[in-house]
Subunit: 216 residues, 2 copies
Amino acid sequence: MPTDTVKGFPIPSVRRLPLYLRLLRELRGEGHDSVSCTRIAESLDQGTVQVRKDLAITGIVGRPKVGYQIPELIDAIETFLGWKNTRDAFLVGAGSLGSALLGYEGFGDSGLNIVAAFDTNPEKVGTRIHEKEVLDWESFHDLAHRMHILIGILTVPADVAQEVTNAMILAGIRAIWNYTPAKLEVPPTIVVEDVRLSSSLAMLSSRLTRLLESQR
Amino acid sequence: MPTDTVKGFPIPSVRRLPLYLRLLRELRGEGHDSVSCTRIAESLDQGTVQVRKDLAITGIVGRPKVGYQIPELIDAIETFLGWKNTRDAFLVGAGSLGSALLGYEGFGDSGLNIVAAFDTNPEKVGTRIHEKEVLDWESFHDLAHRMHILIGILTVPADVAQEVTNAMILAGIRAIWNYTPAKLEVPPTIVVEDVRLSSSLAMLSSRLTRLLESQR
DNA sequence: TAGATTGTTAATCGATTAACAATC
DNA sequence: TAGATTGTTAATCGATTAACAATC
């Protein structure tokens, strides 16, 4: 089978892996050594089969009657996700959302280290936001190349999103975490992950609307 | 059919509605009056049938040969999502992520207005973040009741998430936008929408990892 | 009328769940 | 050994896509 035909993993399973990881780290902290699917399923309010299927994509195998070794399982998930070593990232667009992400301390647990921010606004360039330097967008290309940065976080206004994306790719960026509502056009060798807060908000407000309607 | 058995709408369709809305508002701004599924599908890089199915959940009907009337379609989507009138929300937890959301200006397009923030930290209480007041968490209950606030945005540390959730519900909150990694336990009449940035990051980094592996 | 476009019904695909066999 | 738990195969469910009928 040629490598570019390799089958992907179920998207919902990959998205659930961080939930398991968080729980497992907690259990490890409490001194537990092994854990069963039943136990995990209960804590996360899911089915046991789903837990087994999800964990299986990391290549881990459990032992009947015992369950899974927690350290081994944590290692397998971190390896699968590429979270064993933290990866450096550059953020572009130091607006309110960008600033927030710069200050968010939870990404370390997820193998991500935001090194610096970039902006075109001369009033922002040269300042620091949450201890991180805001650099001139002009210097992005050279710095990203020199530091071998592979991840770009996109928090610019939607109307310049595509333009910035193109420049990121030329600078060697291979994966873009897109917080803008724009649909980015990229070559197939570039990874794009859209955050789409508006989709999440659509779920929240439509369900609330249905709920309120049903009670009138 | 009893109202509590009403069939839900396909989740992926609801999550795509904001994408259509954004495009339609843009087309309206350019002076267009009607639009076909083919046109929408092209712009968003999807299939035409999916577009029709998605739009159908709002109850809209198009005209063969012509397409959909843009103002009518915008109205139908906004009505379905409950975005015709903006709804007020309280945010709890004025940390870095919370501050970011307070400053984010895009929520207005999505029918959400964050009125104020709440925190327990005395150094934050009384200050303003992006023009919004930070109030004492103690005053949440009374204010939420008095102002009939239905939406709570949860950006507190994970270990107090459940506790804050319980208090929110007692204060009359009906829908919680949960930015913490905690799995919240709530009665069935309360809407919870989890944002789970770590799931998104898991997708990004696992795909990047696979990509880099395949090239070695 | 002819052709473009909508809307619906059927087929496919992928994810979840159920049933059961394997194993420590 | 018996029983708990894993892992796999089959059945179900939901979403997407394809085929086609309806209509302006």
